[in-house]
Each structure stands twice: as C-alpha cells, then as structure tokens.
Subunit: 234 residues, 2 copies
C-alpha cells in the first residue's frame, strides 16, 4: 500500500535513550525528539558529562521559543540503554565494545543503529569494510536478544542542533527484519518536523545506507549544502 | 557553490551509445534521451536485435505526441561504443567480459556505468560483493584509457519506457574522478525532463550507490511505488 504514516504506532509516550548522546549526531537527534515532546535519556561514557549535556539540551528553545516540551535527563550509557527505544549514535571505533558491555540492559529493547563506518584521507571520505557487512549487522550479531534496526544515518548534525531551523527536510531510511520495530522507528522519525520514516529494506541491506553518508559528504562539499534525501513516488 | 545546471557543458550535439540497449534500463534511457533530441546508438550482442530495438524506439511518440526528435539507430555493441558518451546498461554477469572486448573502441571516450550488481533470493534483493569494490571500479580497472563515470543506477525502467509519463522525478547521482566527464554526464541527465544530475563523489564511493538499488526495490515492494531519489538542500 502507499506510504501512510497514520498506520504507524503512537510512540509519543515512549522514552528514547541515546548512546553517545554527547556527540553531535546524538545530541542533535535528542534535541529534535525533546522538541517534539519525547522523553529522552542522554547517555555518555561519563555519567557527569551525560547529565551536563542533558541539562544544556533542556535549556535550548523549543519550536515556540519556550523550553523544549520533552523531558531530557542524562547519565551513563547504561542509563540510556534502559529505555524503550535506544539510538546508538556511537563512533564506529567504540561501537562493538560499547554495545557488548550493554547486552543485558539492551535485551528485549529496540535499538536504532545510526553509525556510519567511514574513513577519511586526503581524497575525502570512503566506506570502511565491516566484517559483519554493516555496523547494524554487527550490532545484531553482538545483541541477539535486542530488536536491532538501522536509521537516522544521513541527518545533518548542523541542522539538527540549530534551534532556528524549523524543519528537517529529509526522509529517514529505516531498515530491519522486525516489522513492529521498524514501524516504531518510522513513527519516531515522523515525530520530527519535516521528517518521514520510510522502510528501506532488511538489515542485510544496511551497509550501503551507512556508506551513502560518504556520498552525502561529497555532495555537501561540492554544493556547500547540508544534503538530505527524499524518496519520490512514496 | 550551490547547484547550478547553467554551468554544465552543452551536450545536446553529442551522440550517446548504449551498451545492452535492448534491456529495459538501456532501452528506457535511450528512449528518454531521444525524446530530448539526443542522437542515440543502441548496441546489442546481436546487430540485428540492436537495429530492431532502435527502429521500435524511433517509432515511439515524443513528448508532443509526434515522433521522437532525436535520431535512434542500432547495431552491435561495438557500434554503440564508437560514440561520444557510452552508457553501459549491461547485466552484471556480462559486464566485465563485454567491456574487455570493447577496450579499443572505448579508448578516450566517456563511459557511464549504470550496472547494479545484485543477487536475489527468497528474502529479496541484496548487494553482491564485487572484487574491485563496484561495477564502476571494475570498468575503470578494465578500461584504463576510458573516462569512467557511474550514474543512472536508480531510474525506473517502467517509468522511462512509458510514453505517457511526462517527467522522471529523480536526481541522478553522478560519480567519477574526471571533473569534465562528470560535468558532461550531469548535463546529459539534465536533458531528461524532471531529472537533475548531481555530483555525488569519487568512483571509490560508487559501490554503495549501486547497492542502494536493493533498498529502492524494497521500498517499491513495500509502498507499491517506482521510487526515485531527490537530494534536498542542493
């Protein structure tokens, strides 16, 4: 059937955790979700830095200029992992290790992997080979009891964290093998003004979505843009 | 600088060859280019089938209902390779072998590789591992004297070949290491009503663009669509 966000579940009462919530991508997603009214728990390796980043985000203006309507708290990554939907916004270097240590906390939960395994050299960004095929498949291999999805790879941290930007004009490609989990993540993406969550295939097709970030960086450089993606005819 | 198609070269007088021009993707691109007024040479393994497919295309209606304004002729792949810009719309299975036999004909020319190395099983499409990293890099390795680019991976053959479809609403991601060649291919894409050609990185980042076709097939299946891509903020 055609795309219809009204068939997606209501996720407005779910609490969202962000692993690596002090990095630009995690911080930006946490801000936009809190601005949409979502309860967010920012995680960091250091509980003090997680709490401090949460306090900073809670003080940013919401869409109407008042405080963000959602609740933002913070602590260590284990605190952020004990939520309904957990976004892994980790650097690829620490991805496998951090997820391994959180296996118990993440059991039964929905994980949203948004990690882009990229290398950079004098010719720019390029995709790194991941033994499991993708960061998302690495997460699934390390977390057999977790409902692993992949999404939010291509959002611009610059736009997400700028309170003056009203809409984030992009579709979020959502991947995974668990239909209820991908539906929930699509609904979460649609909470952010301007975004749609579009199902884009099984987890085994996540590698190219992660690597596509290298192309968007090349586009941004050539056109001085913060490029996003829209899927046409959907 | 921002995207500006007016800085791209005039390619309206160039002749475009299509290797594998009797397949759905090659045939569709040839039709749209001829409809835009371009001279097109359709290639096939069999010169008779190439000529017959060209005659069929030339008889299709143009945008105004009259005959297509461009010239369409056809023959074997070697004939199509002796043109200004050569689109390789080959099945991946025959890609390396066909290009190898055309090395002399393709020397000095612009090649546009639009091959998607995909496998299919009961769970749907998935990316195939290509030893060179991508079909486009395989082409570059086999054709050291050719200006290899990659583009037109995500166009829907169904839409391209339907004379009733007025616009093809998609951006064409163009990859390559030769700026003048990628500029020409961007300009060629922009000849087709509704399309833009957007530079999207070096050839080493072509693999994920080819593999992304698997995701678009998953999107098409879920949403009963002919999905395309638009790059936002460009």
């Amino acid at each position: 059937m055609p795309y219809d966000s009204s068939i997606l579940p209501d996720v407005s009462t779910l609490t969202v955790g962000v692993l690596g919530g002090t990095g630009p991508q995690g911080r930006g997603l946490a801000y936009r979700l809190a601005r949409a009214g979502q309860s967010v728990v920012l995680g960091s390796r250091s509980p003090e830095r997680g709490a401090a980043a949460a306090a900073e985000l809670a003080a940013l203006p919401g869409a109407d200029g008042g405080p963000v309507p959602g609740t933002v708290t913070g602590g260590d990554n284990a605190l952020a992992a004990a939520t309904d939907v957990v976004i892994a916004a980790l650097p690829y270097e620490g991805h496998a290790e951090t997820l391994s240590t959180l296996r118990a906390e993440l059991a039964g939960r929905i994980l949203v992997d948004c990690v882009n395994p990229l290398g950079f050299d004098q010719r720019g960004p390029h995709a790194l080979a991941v033994p499991e095929g993708s960061a998302a498949e690495q997460a699934a291999a390390l977390l057999p009891d977790t409902r692993v999805t992949a999404a939010f790879h291509h959002v611009s941290a610059v736009l997400l964290t700028d309170p003056g930007v009203a809409e984030i004009e992009t579709d979020v490609l959502v991947l995974g093998d668990d239909r209820a989990a991908t539906d929930a993540v699509q609904a979460l993406a649609a909470r952010i003004t301007g975004m749609r969550g579009v199902y884009a295939g099984r987890l085994r097709n996540a590698g190219q979505i992660e690597a596509l970030t290298a192309n968007l960086i090349a586009i941004n450089k050539r056109y001085k843009a913060h490029a996003g993606i829209r899927i046409t005819d959907v």
